[in-house]
């Protein structure tokens, strides 16, 4: 009886089209926001902020990006790592070359630059699909990492190939990058930035461009007869997707790790984000967050749970277990529930709506 839409009648199309049409969802969102803004910084230690909350938000951003391309537009990509590298190195070069540029502008410009690269590597999608496209994006992945590794210009000729994020402030006195940055500031900045960009992604997928992406995904021939140009739909998906992934790469280098080398963005990074999208739910912005949370939390859980239960398990076994659990889950979600955790969440809500009646 608690979670009901009964009695909440939509009297206008704008009310019906809102993101959270059910009042309980809106209340939950506000509560969730309060916890995220007030409780987490107050209660979580710096260690937890740096190892769980910050990477979670960065990964969520990358997962949103890949979900737009793969989940919404149906174009499989294994180039996520390469595009994250673009965002990281573009923002590094920009931040060094223009020290006065505000850090948010740097991130956004790096995102736009990555979008351009994404469009370039998206061109083959006009001719090839599925597995073959995945191979083409794999080529992008290897090529991009090679470029950033090979040419010292990208790292300002740092002998180790590692770039270190210069210190930058979001507001005067509040550093978000560099060694002096406070984890709470970092976390709150990421929370606001990622939430805002996630909202924009949600807006896109519920507007005409998002419907065009899904139309191309579901049946490209039918999309074409209603006037959707496959060229425009696919390349815009590559652009928007790469924009998000590029910014995620920039956040990774600047806010999460603080220093990074191209090898941090190798093919396993691409797979890691792909797993988030599959487990969280293809074609769901919420799913991108759930998948990111899951993949960030699982290893931590596996490392601590046996100890708490009084079991002694070797470190190697734990990392093997991690792989096995991921593998099993990927297969489960691909076969049984392609819409992932987001769908399970929705089913749970539907059950709750009918509760206490089973049907």
């Amino acid at each position: 009886m608690l979670y009901r839409e009964a009695g909440q009648f939509k009297t206008s199309y704008s009310a019906d089209q809102s993101i959270f049409p059910i009042r309980q969802d809106r209340i939950a969102l506000v509560l969730f926001g309060l916890v995220a803004v007030l409780a987490v910084p107050a209660l979580a230690s710096n260690y937890f902020l740096e190892t769980i909350f910050v990477p979670f938000l960065v990964f969520a951003m990358a997962a949103i990006g890949l979900n737009i391309l793969t989940g919404y537009c149906g174009q499989l990509s294994l180039g996520t790592g390469g595009f994250m590298a673009c965002g990281a190195f573009f923002s590094y070069k920009l931040a060094i070359a223009f020290p006065d540029l505000h850090i948010i502008v740097v991130f956004l410009l790096a995102g736009f630059g990555t979008a351009a690269v994404g469009v370039l590597f998206g061109v083959p999608s006009l001719r090839i699909k599925g597995f073959y496209l995945a191979v083409a994006t794999l080529a992008a992945q290897f090529f991009l990492v090679w470029v950033f590794n090979k040419f010292g210009w990208w790292t300002n000729y740092s002998p180790s190939g590692v770039i270190s994020a210069p210190p930058r402030e979001i507001f005067p006195g509040f550093a978000v990058t560099g060694a002096q940055a406070d984890p709470i500031t970092k976390y709150l900045f990421l929370l606001a930035f990622v939430a805002l960009l996630a909202l924009m992604a949600k807006n896109l997928v519920r507007s005409s461009i998002g419907r065009s992406w899904m139309a191309i995904r579901d049946m490209d021939i039918a999309a074409e007869i209603i006037g959707i140009r496959p060229l425009w739909a696919k390349l815009s998906a590559f652009a928007v997707s790469s924009f998000y992934i590029g910014i995620a790469g920039a956040l990774w280098a600047f806010v999460y790790t603080g220093s990074v080398e191209a090898l941090a963005f190798q093919i396993d990074r691409s797979f890691q984000v792909l797993f988030m999208v599959i487990i969280g739910g293809l074609g769901s912005i919420l799913g991108s967050f759930l998948g990111a949370a899951f993949i960030v939390l699982l290893p931590i859980l596996l490392n601590n749970a046996p100890g708490l239960l009084g079991l002694r398990i070797s470190v190697e076994l734990i990392s093997h277990l991690e792989f096995m659990i991921f593998g099993g889950l990927i297969i489960f979600f691909l076969i049984v529930e392609p819409h992932g955790l987001a769908r399970l969440w929705q089913i749970g809500k539907e059950k709750l709506r009918l509760w206490p009646f089973p049907y």
């Binding site: 005409s208 461009i209 039918a222 006037g227």
Partner: protein, 263 residues
């Protein structure tokens, strides 16, 4: 907004000596006919006669080896389907071609894509211009939903709908384009009697209320004779006859090739 006395006007689309071959197979040989404004034209013929191929040529999916197509007096050569859509040609498919992962409402909203003008940044921000546009087009779509009596399935993913309703949603999506020429490939195939009657009524109402020109492929001769203004008969890629239902029914070639034999 009834047209009352139906006024069939000048030629809207003209195909001239169209020949289309796949390797050695001639799907269409030297076909010519025209579609006139505001009429309902039926294209009939046995399976494999080339009916669907004809729609695919008009629609820009297939590019004929010979012949010309004139639409609204302008000759055109090969074009892509999305350009045909831009010129006001909509269609449905013999096998339903809906967007399976989307709701009924979203499927129909995709039909409005060409009419929506907000750019990508306005859409990302949503509030303001894009929201006004979404609401305006939603209103149009809701009228179509009322018209086709599919209010109850608005939010249902189309993959879960029974076949007859899927066909109706596909028609709704085509209507959302507000086309000048509507091509329907076997809109009543696989339907029961009641569903067929509904669909006939919708086709007639669309033609009557919006003045849309319709070319449809149909096997049920009863339906064809009832609703069409003119009939084109194809057989093995050739045109056998072309005229009013009464004239076509009396044509000996047609009787021999098609009507005489039960299908």
């Amino acid at each position: 907004m009834s047209y009352g006395e139906k006024h069939i006007g000048e030629t809207l689309l003209k195909v001239d000596n169209i020949t289309l071959a796949f390797g050695g197979v001639k799907a269409l040989s030297d076909i010519s006919f025209e579609i006139r404004k505001h009429e309902i034209l039926a294209i009939i013929g046995p399976n494999g006669a080339g009916k669907t191929s004809m729609l695919n040529v008009i629609n820009g999916f297939y590019h004929p080896q010979q012949g010309r197509i004139e639409f609204r007096g302008v000759e055109r050569r090969a074009m892509r389907p999305h350009l045909a859509a831009r010129q006001g040609i909509a269609r449905t498919f013999q096998n339903v071609a809906l967007f399976k992962g989307m709701s009924t409402l979203d499927n129909i909203m995709t039909g409005r894509t060409l009419k929506m003008k907000s750019n990508i940044f306005q859409q990302a921000i949503y509030w303001g211009a894009n929201q006004r546009e979404e609401i305006a087009h939603r209103e149009v779509v809701e009228k179509i939903i009322d018209f086709l009596e599919i209010e109850a399935i608005r939010k249902t993913p189309v993959g879960r709908l029974p076949y007859g309703l899927q066909k109706r949603v596909e028609l709704a999506r085509a209507l959302a384009m507000e086309p000048d020429l509507l091509l329907l490939d076997e809109p009543m195939a696989g339907m029961n009697v009641e569903e067929k009657e509904d669909m006939c009524r919708f086709v007639l109402d669309v033609n009557d209320e919006f003045g849309t020109t319709i070319a449809l492929i149909e096997h049920d001769m009863g339906v064809v004779m009832d609703i069409s203004d003119r009939v084109v008969v194809l057989d093995y890629g050739r045109k056998l006859a072309d005229g009013t239902p009464a004239v076509v029914r009396a044509n000996q070639d047609v009787i021999d090739a098609y009507l005489g034999v039960s299908h």
